[in-house]
């Protein structure tokens, strides 16, 4: 009886160290991340760029499906913090840093690859896709000179 049930698209469950969302209309983000691209979406109607990627433009009606754009080049580290305690499921990553990278038009929230007293807000960063154990995928910000 369950034969004709369409298979669920759970690709997003593989995002990050531990996933909390399995299904979203922007699941293609995961395929792009696996191909090494960190992508946001762009509205074909008004041209706004969105990160995190979203399926719907809040300003346009009937503009058609969102387009993808790749996050490229240098952003600036807006701020970060280094965790010494972690929520359940992240303990093995400690210590790690979460950060915001500012690309002007848009910003990204994610992990910072390196941290220490020399890493300050304003420092240039690039964003790269990373592969985690068990087929999981994520992205991180890399401070200038730490590639």
């Amino acid at each position: 009886m369950a034969k004709n049930k369409p298979e669920k698209d759970l690709r997003f469950e593989r995002f990050g160290t531990k996933g909390f969302t399995a299904t979203t209309k922007v699941n293609d983000f995961i395929d792009r991340l696996e191909a090494g691209q960190v992508c946001g979406t762009k509205c074909p109607g008004c041209g706004q760029r969105f990160f995190p990627p979203r399926a719907d433009c809040p300003d346009c009606s009937g503009a058609g499906p969102m387009e993808w754009f790749q996050v490229e080049g240098e952003g600036k580290l807006a701020t970060y913090s280094v965790l010494r305690y972690a929520p359940q499921g992240f303990e093995q990553d400690l210590p790690y840093a979460i950060a915001v990278a500012d690309y002007g038009d848009y910003k990204l929230f994610g992990r910072l690859s390196h941290f220490g007293p020399e890493i300050e807000p304003g420092c240039p960063v690039t964003t790269r896709a990373v592969s985690l154990p068990d087929g999981r995928v994520a992205y991180e910000f890399v401070p200038q000179g730490q590639q």
Partner: protein, 384 residues
């Protein structure tokens, strides 16, 4: 539009591991507020029950709490906006009273954080963000506030000692508040050598979790007169705003625009400015939160917060006393009860009934209550 007053306030002691159910916890504040106002339960025409549901085992807590307090068959409903749930309850009750639906309402906030195990708490902490785009990176509340602390310290050249001074002040008053969960003094040195939680925040930069409840009774001007309430405290201004959850969609990491907007609305409605505030309760879930509040509420110029605390201007005898009940840092932060407890402190201050914590003859008070990491903010201005 008629005026609305707070005519009764109550609060349980804020404790670790409350030895009773959520109904019994909520009842403690309810009973105190009813006695304070001198009302019978039939006088309450409706109730709003406020908490953060991730800590509750009980589904739809409004039902069991209204039942236990004897508030059937009057309408009741549940209100949630994280750590500012109970001031959102005040805002809703204000609207229902001025809209003419009721002329006397109960806003009951509670949180029994020990209701769930610490493993469950750990699990829920990770979901306190945008679960799609932030939680997979391993986030929690102290780390978010630490990002603002780094942003603030970097932007204004302030130091971690400046943040620690806020904790020292909180502990000064936590010692004299018999309902506070943390009653011990804290020195600057203790703050500075404490273990890091999320750099640059350390253990004493973080508030004390607690179980607790708060209750506020709101009434229309007509009802205040009818009941012959001697010391009503009037809600003069109410402001509220929201911001994106995901920090990628914020513009600033050294303050909360959501609080600036709520403050501006509340000041405008009350016809007062920051200089007119005689006593304030601000949302100090972390030391950095109080530091940012100084500027966001207009008590200091941008970047002037560190000087304000260094000069002890926010102590009881300073120019703008802030959190002289110990604040969330020492009094404790039972999420759903916090806003109501802040309002209670200001009501007692304005009535001149704050005991050892009393500020000299205040006429206008302010409450600043933030939900999430500057996700929701409520600001209330109150007067005699």
């Amino acid at each position: 539009m008629g005026r609305v007053a707070i005519i009764g306030v109550g609060q349980s002691a804020f404790v670790r591991g409350y030895p009773g159910s959520i109904k019994e916890l909520a009842f403690e504040a309810f009973r105190e507020a009813m006695d304070d106002a001198g009302l019978q339960r039939g006088d309450i025409q409706g109730s709003l029950i406020c908490s953060a549901p991730e800590y509750d085992r009980q589904r739809s807590p409004a039902g069991v709490i209204a039942e236990y307090c004897g508030l059937n068959p009057q309408p009741t409903a549940y209100v949630e906006s994280l750590c500012c749930s109970s001031t959102t309850g005040v805002r809703m009750a204000y609207g229902m009273i001025t809209g003419g639906l009721h002329d006397c309402m109960m806003v009951l906030g509670f949180q029994k954080m020990s209701e769930i195990t610490s493993a469950e708490t750990q699990e829920r902490m990770g979901r306190g963000a945008d679960i799609q785009w932030e939680s997979p990176f391993g986030t929690m509340m102290p780390a978010y506030y630490a990002m603002f602390a780094r942003g603030f310290l970097h932007r204004y050249g302030a130091s971690e000692e400046d943040l620690a001074r806020i904790r020292v002040k909180a502990a000064t008053y936590g010692q004299i508040n018999e309902k506070a969960v943390y009653r011990k003094p804290v020195s600057l040195e203790q703050c500075m050598i404490a273990d890091p939680v999320a750099d640059p925040l350390k253990v004493f930069d973080c508030c004390a979790n607690a179980d607790g409840s708060s209750a506020l009774i709101l009434a229309s001007e007509e009802k205040v007169r009818e009941l012959g309430i001697e010391k009503p405290v009037w809600l003069m201004g109410l402001g509220s705003a929201s911001a994106p959850v995901n920090l990628a969609l914020r513009d600033e990491f050294s303050g909360f625009d959501v609080a600036r907007q709520a403050a501006s609305q509340a000041y405008g409605m009350a016809g007062v400015g920051p200089k007119d505030i005689d006593v304030a309760e601000v949302h100090d879930c972390f030391t950095i939160a109080e530091m940012m509040a100084y500027e966001n509420l207009g008590f200091a110029e941008p970047g002037g917060g560190p000087e304000l605390i260094r000069a002890k201007e926010t102590y009881k005898d300073g120019s703008i006393p802030v959190n002289v009940d110990g604040g969330l840092l020492s009094k404790g932060h039972p999420i759903g009860a916090t806003g109501g407890s802040q309002v209670r402190t200001i009501v007692l201050q304005l009535r001149g009934e704050a005991g050892a914590m009393q500020v000299k003859d205040p006429a206008v008070g302010l409450v600043h209550n933030v939900g999430g990491v500057g996700l929701y903010a409520n600001v209330l201005v109150m007067g005699r």
